[in-house]
Structures are given as structure tokens and as C-alpha cells.
């Protein structure tokens, strides 16, 4: 997809399919949920890649499949010289040191019976990184790094607020000195004033420790703020990928346009003037996703071809990819494309994609 050599993670045609339990009992073919269905994506070293989409679009599944917390059905996840998707469990365990995750719910992701000191030292012990005094010093250093006082060491999670718990979760992820962190909705459960604190903390740590993030969120304002590039996921497929600035200022694919226009702006003057693209209906079920373009059932620009042809993720503008047959590099603005025309179908053979 891009030829730069500084990719830390390269995902190739990754699929995660879940068979639905009990569905094959009466001889009918089993239903399959295609949570992630052919995702290719490069994550560059040192960047924050934002991953957005509505609930059920597969963004958390994708994040977990990269780390093998969910087994991928097929495809590759290239990290350094390994394909994580095909490593043995034993070999994968060694790689986990470099790959960590921060969870959404700071209340559910910390063991309530362990002290903060035990929670943060557990990964250090697992990977035998330090013992005794060195371990104690390391845990203190980690707590200070995330803005918590070392006098909290003996306290339990319930004694902390949501924002502080999220800091503990971040300290635990950093304990093994990872290269890559999946941040799965890390601010969604937090108050507005605390969200800013955690976003700033994550960004500072990224710069200081040269970390790479996959930042998963449904909050486009937050994703836009922290990410260098943003990928938009819809029903298990990436439908748009671009730099954060351009995807917000000039979204190309109709779904991204609708998603961005749905975000309320904290300014009454802007809100009074703006015209919203309000999408009809809900996200369709991923069990039997719509044929062709998966978004065609809700798309205000859909034409007949959209329900037949599955659009590929194509470079429409420099470093700006979109999956929509109704636009092409020559005609990137869907508003100006002639009614019923699908320039993307003609341009298909020209554009090269991963």
C-alpha cells in the first residue's frame, strides 16, 4: 500500500470470521460473522494511526487480532521479521513484550484484588525483566511516568477515579517497554476534562518512548486530534485512509462524510449553519453484509452498480485512499460526478493498490 520502509506493522488481507454457535444444527450452512474481512494496512513506526467506525464495524476485533488476542482466520500481520498471525503460541508469547494493549473500561481491566504495585509489576515478572530493588524502582518510575504518586503503590483499584485507573492501565502496558500499543477506546469511559489529560499523556509518552499506536475510537474529534493518519472501518473493511487533516477537511467516501458531519461541534454559530448528512437506518448485520459496496444500503449516492461491484481501496489523491466506485483520481468529488456515473469503475485498472 505504501512503499516506505519504516512500517512497524504491515497487515495483509487480514480476516477474522466467527462461526455462529448452533447455526449448523439442522443441516443448513453455518452463519458466519465476518467481523474483519480482508484488511490491509501499514502502521508506520512512531505514528498514531487512528481507527474509527461505528459499533459492530470490527475495529476492536481488528486491534485484538493484530495482537493475537483473537485468532485471525487468515492473512498476515508482519512485525519485524515475523508474521504474527502464523507464529506458534510459544513464539508469540515472546513477541508480546513488544506489543501491548490499553483497554476501554478502566474499571473492568484491573484486577480488584491486586494492589497497584502488583498490577504494574506483574508484566515485569512475567518477562523476567527485573527483580528485587530494581523491580521496585522500575514500578515507581512507571507510576511517575504516567503522573501517579509512588505512595499509591499499596492501594487497590477501587480507591482511584476513572482517569487514575486508566493511568494505571497505561503504566502496566509500558512496564515491558513495548514498541506498539493498541489503545482500544482509551478515553471513551472518561469525563471530558479527564479525556484531555489522557490524550496528552499518551501523546507525550509516544514522543518520549518512540511508541507506535493504533488508536481505536468512535470519537472522531479525539481521533483527529491525536492521529497522524486515520483509517475508517465499515462492516469489517477499510473504506477510507488518509492523513488526519485531509480526512477531516475533505472526506471523499460518502460514509466518512456522513460520519464527520454527524459529530456535534461545540459552537452554537457553527451548529446553526451546518447542514448534516443524516444517515438513514442502522449498520447492517455483519452476518450477511450487503453485496457489493457494504455501505450502499445507507448511501445517499448509491447507484445500481454499487450493489454489484465490491469497491477496492484506491488512491484517489496523494496518500488519500477511498473505496468507492463513484469517485476516481480524476473525479474525486462525488458531488460533481454526473448522476449515475461511476468513474471508479473505469479507473480501476489504472490505479494500483495493495
Amino acid at each position: 500500500m505504501d512503499n516506505e520502509a519504516n512500517n512497524l506493522i504491515s497487515i495483509r488481507d487480514l480476516k477474522v470470521h466467527f462461526p455462529l454457535a448452533g447455526s449448523s444444527w439442522f443441516g443448513s450452512s453455518p452463519s458466519i460473522v465476518k467481523a474483519v474481512d480482508g484488511v490491509s494496512l501499514d502502521i508506520r513506526a512512531g505514528e498514531t494511526l487512528g481507527l474509527v467506525g461505528e459499533s459492530g464495524c470490527g475495529k476492536s476485533t481488528l486491534g485484538r487480532a493484530i495482537l493475537r488476542l483473537i485468532e485471525p482466520t487468515s492473512g498476515q500481520v508482519l512485525f519485524r521479521d515475523h508474521d504474527l498471525a502464523s507464529l506458534s503460541n510459544r513464539a508469540m508469547r515472546e513477541q508480546r513484550r513488544h506489543l501491548q494493549i490499553i483497554f476501554q473500561d478502566p474499571y473492568a481491566s484491573l484486577n480488584p484484588r491486586m494492589t497497584v504495585g502488583q498490577i504494574v509489576s506483574e508484566p515485569i515478572e512475567t518477562f523476567r525483566l527485573a527483580r528485587g530493588d530494581a523491580k521496585r524502582r522500575r514500578v515507581q518510575e512507571l507510576l511517575e511516568m504516567v503522573g501517579l504518586s509512588a505512595r499509591f503503590l499499596k492501594r487497590y483499584p477501587h480507591e482511584f477515579s476513572g482517569g487514575q485507573r486508566q493511568r494505571i492501565g497505561i503504566a502496566r502496558a509500558l512496564a515491558v517497554d513495548p514498541d506498539f500499543i493498541v489503545a482500544d477506546e482509551p478515553i471513551s469511559a472518561l469525563d471530558v476534562s479527564i479525556q484531555a489529560q489522557i490524550m496528552n499523556l499518551l501523546d507525550r509518552l509516544r514522543r518520549e518512548k518512540n511508541l507506535t499506536y493504533l488508536f481505536i475510537s468512535h470519537d472522531l474529534r479525539a481521533v483527529h486530534h491525536v492521529s497522524a493518519r486515520v483509517a475508517v472501518l465499515y462492516l469489517g473493511k477499510i473504506v477510507e485512509l488518509a492523513e488526519a487533516k485531509s480526512i477531516y477537511a475533505q472526506p471523499l467516501m460518502p460514509y466518512t462524510k456522513a460520519l464527520i458531519s454527524a459529530v456535534p461541534v461545540p459552537d452554537p454559530k457553527v451548529e446553526a449553519k451546518r447542514r448534516r448528512v443524516v444517515l438513514e437506518g442502522d449498520v447492517p448485520s455483519p452476518i450477511n453484509p450487503p453485496r457489493g459496496c457494504r455501505f450502499h444500503t445507507r448511501c445517499p449516492y448509491a447507484i445500481g452498480d454499487c450493489s454489484d461491484v465490491e469497491p477496492a481501496l484506491v488512491q484517489i489523491k496523494p496518500n488519500h485512499f477511498a473505496a468507492c466506485i463513484r469517485i476516481s483520481p480524476d473525479q474525486p468529488d462525488i458531488e460533481r460526478v454526473a448522476p449515475g456515473d461511476a468513474p471508479g469503475l473505469r479507473a480501476r485498472s489504472v490505479a494500483s493498490i495493495a
Partner: protein, 334 residues
Amino acid sequence: MNTNGNLLEVKDLRTYFETEDGVVKAVDGVSFEVRQGETLGIVGESGSGKSVANLSLMRLIAEPPGKIVSGSITFRGRDILKLSPREVRAIRGKQIAMIFQDPMTSLNPFMRISKQLMEVTRLHLGHSKGEAREHAIRMLEVVGIPDAEARIDSYPHEFSGGMRQRVIIAMALSCQPELLIADEPTTALDVTIQAQILELIKRLKGETGASVILVTHDLGVVAGMTDHIIVMYAGKVFERAPTSELFGQPGNPYTRGLLRSVPDPAAEQGNLYQIPGQPPDLARLPGACPFAPRCERAEEICRREFPPFVQLTSEHSSLCHFADEVFAESQEAA
């Protein structure tokens, strides 16, 4: 009905809870009014008291551990706090209706949608079974549920989150209430569904002329929906203003901090403004300004004395020792 056009007047409301840690003053001297046909936004973070204030309006505070200690809630000239439980029940759901955050837990999972909707109008409007069913179908159509007649006998789990919230709205509006309280109605929903539900509330409000109290933590949501806003922190009203004025010229450091900590897509990336520290422990509130430990503007007096509620313009007040100064700074910045 009041002579000054207020449908609802809340004066010096105090709702306290007895806990193991001591008395939690969840709502502590809150006053506001809702005019006929207007939308009032109540903004605050968790623990600010915004939900408890609204539960108090409906007399839905569990007692014990909670207790409405003092104040008055005047709705159409009658003090709700002085009514008998029976009189409150007659108002609740009929003249004042409420929508909650979680559309799954506010519907009974074992009861068909039809039965839950019909219950309301049979109780409050004395509908017969047939009338109630017809009315329920019409309400589902009003809130945009396709194929309402066929789907009315579904169970809640057969509906998506957005559809369930539509059912709740249909239920809340089925007796044409004069006041609709929507407590974080879109927080559990996706952003595209949130836009649908907000548009729906706006449209129905226009059609029915109902007044709305919209409770939320999202400043974006109140910006486009409300006429007036109150900002709550630690059980107190910190600022009260017409919506355009609150956003254009905030007079309280907390409001200003909240506004600045929302990422602005038009601005450059980089460090986001952050309010330092944690929300206060409501069982251990200081006698001084509860926001002082987190406030960039705080001086010695803020840590010593409780601030005054300073009137800045005819409709704009702020709880702050330096309200005038903050207000003037906001004007310069704008």
C-alpha cells in the same frame, strides 16, 4: 401557570445522600427555570449532580439513602415537593416525561413493546385497549420506526440501540408532555445514530411545543440544541447563560476550561488544553470553592471562601470570586 412564562422553577434545591463516608451533597442549592417551549441544557461531568437534580424533579430519589432536604420545584404554579405521591404519579409520565441514557435498561426485556407503550396511555389518558394500540402504532410512526404495525409486538432485544431509544421517545411523548427531560439520551449511541435522535428530538419539540431539559456531558450536543445552559460542578450551578453567550463569552474558569479541552478539528494538533487534577470527593467538599484545587485562576481567597454567584448580564451569572475578570478576559479573547 406562572405569570412570567416559566413552566418550571427550581429554587435552592438540595438533595443529599447518607453514605458510609458521610453526607454526600449531590445537589446543593441549585436554582434554574425552564420557559415555555425552550430547551435548557444541563452540562456537567460525572458526579456534578446533573442527573440527581433531574431525578429530584420527578421525585424519583430513593429515600433512604437520599433525601430532598430543601427547596421548591414549581411546575405550572404547584410545588412538586409538596404533592402527595399519588398526585406526583399523575404528573409523572403525563405532564413531565423522562428519557434515560441506556435504552436497554429502561425497557422491560420480558414485555412486548406494544404492551409497554399501551400501558402509558391506558393509565394516563384512560385509553381502551384498542385506542391505546392504535395510539402506540401512531407514536412509533412519529418517531420513525418503519413498519410500525408489524413491529409493535416485538420484544426490546429485537431492536437496535437507536431503535430502542426511538421507542423510549415514543413512550415519553405518548401523552404529549409539557416538559421532556432527556438525560444523556444519546451517550450510549453511535455518532450517526446520535445525529438521528437529536434531529428527532428537535423536530418533535417543534411540533408539540414541549419544553425540554437536555442533560449531557457533551458541549457539542448542547451547542446546537439549547436556548439556555447551566453548567454544574460538585452539586452547584457554576454558570448560567443563554447558549450563545456561554460559548461566546464564558464567565467561569471551569466552563472556559471545559470548552478549551474539547479537541477542535479546525485547530492545529499538539497539546490539548487540560484541566488538571480529579473531580472532588463529594463527601469531603471544602467550605471554599470546590473547583479551586484544579483552577488556573485560583488565588488565596478561592481556597478560603465560598465564591459568590455574580450576575454578569441580565441572564448570565457565574459562581466565581473573579467572575467579572474572567468574563472580561473572554470578551477580549473573542
